[in-house]
Amino acid sequence: MSEPGGRTRRTYWEQARAGGVYPWHGRGWLEVAGRDRAAFLHAFCTQEIKKLAPGDIRETFFCQGNGKIVGHGFVVVEAERLLIATPREHVAPLLRHLDRYVIREDVRLADRSDMTAAALFCGAAGIGLRQAAEASTAATQVADIPAADELVKLSAALSLAVAAAVVVRRNPWVPNDDTLWVEYPPEVAMPTAANAAASEAAPTATAAPTAAMTAAPTAAMTAVGGQVAGAGGRCDPGPAAPYRCGGIAAGRAWRAARGGPGTRRVVERSVGPAQRGPRGD
């Protein structure tokens, strides 16, 4: 075989690249708040929490004294708190594990799993979403922008209203992947198979998005690489602004600029590898 394994790579990746949205119902949030939150969490996980800045995301393990894993997730740094994304059913056990070590520290732990809903925009879906967001924020740099609104179409097709506060992050497992991790208000209808079927049955619904969907969806999506605008990463929808994006030209411009230093810098800052120093340090 001229390309051993090549067939395998394509067939796996083919499906993911073709695009899809996964309603990530299983994502839970553990909130760590209080003045001593960073020092406290630093002492109970494998990641260097003290050096992180608001907007950073890091993968980490939580261990027992013998080194065995008691938790795994992604730490999201906000201005006033730390959030740990971990499977919903493991939030409570991890909370109990950490809570045993809170003695005099100013630390408050809470299960915030229902604070927002989550979805993963994978493959082409992630590209489409990013394209729309970046085109809208870089509108002044792209002269030839048709009056298309791909993000709204995308969201309407999935019954996902992005007009409200939406947080977009990179794929936490593989940051330079196309996948985007989207958090949106729980009151917004989550994308479900029923919704998708309904949108297929009634295509006019996608052609005529509601006013709420069209109102400034990406004013808060200025930093797709990490957290969104706002000191704490929590998104402030802000005042309504014209939302123009999409089109072939915008897509080409985005793809051309994708490998540029600016994009790369955002990636490195928002989701980077763990610090690693000389052995024995």
Binding site: G5, T8, R17, Y22, G65, E89, A124, E200, T206, R276
Partner: protein, 219 residues
Amino acid sequence: MSNARSDRRNAALAAIDAGDVESAVALWDEQTFDAWRIAIGAPLYGREISADQLPQEASRTAQAISFTKGCYLGQEPVARIDSLGHVNWELVTFQLAATPSVAPSPTPSVAPSDAPCESDSAAGQSAAGVSAAGVLVPGAVLAVDGKPVLKIATIMPWSVVNGGPATSPGAEAPWTHAGLGYVRREARRAARSAGDAMAEGVLATPAGIVRIEPRLFHG
């Protein structure tokens, strides 16, 4: 050789460019999400990662473990492994061309949250890592010469992931399964030396041919 991946991706992007988002975007179910996780080597706690493992065994060291931060709960064994030793098992993506006597699992299967893959024992399973019904299941342990070489954490029929057969290297047998599992260090080293340029290597077990890769997509 046609590049089906690029063709399909470009078609999806063209559809988005043309405003036809619906045709480019599908709603994924749990099965597709698991197939995607298998493809990028993305473990979840309670599925592939459990309290049985050390952090380095999950193959997320570069992303998730700092060796410069100083003390934390569990730091001593983690640092000791890094500076003095190694872990015996590591999480990998694998593909399996099962022997005809081994039936593909009828549905995609992952370890339940309360019983992630066991480390050493595989109750109710033969040495080949197959259940009494002849179906590969999470927790199965594939062995070579009586020594365990691969512990299955998540496994899916290839047809679910791929939608059709794929050819295994150097053989006509199609892949029947794909998944995430823990491979024993010695077996991985032996497989690597015998493997081809694209994969970590190939293991021949009684349950079938196993192909090992850290992940299928190197972002």
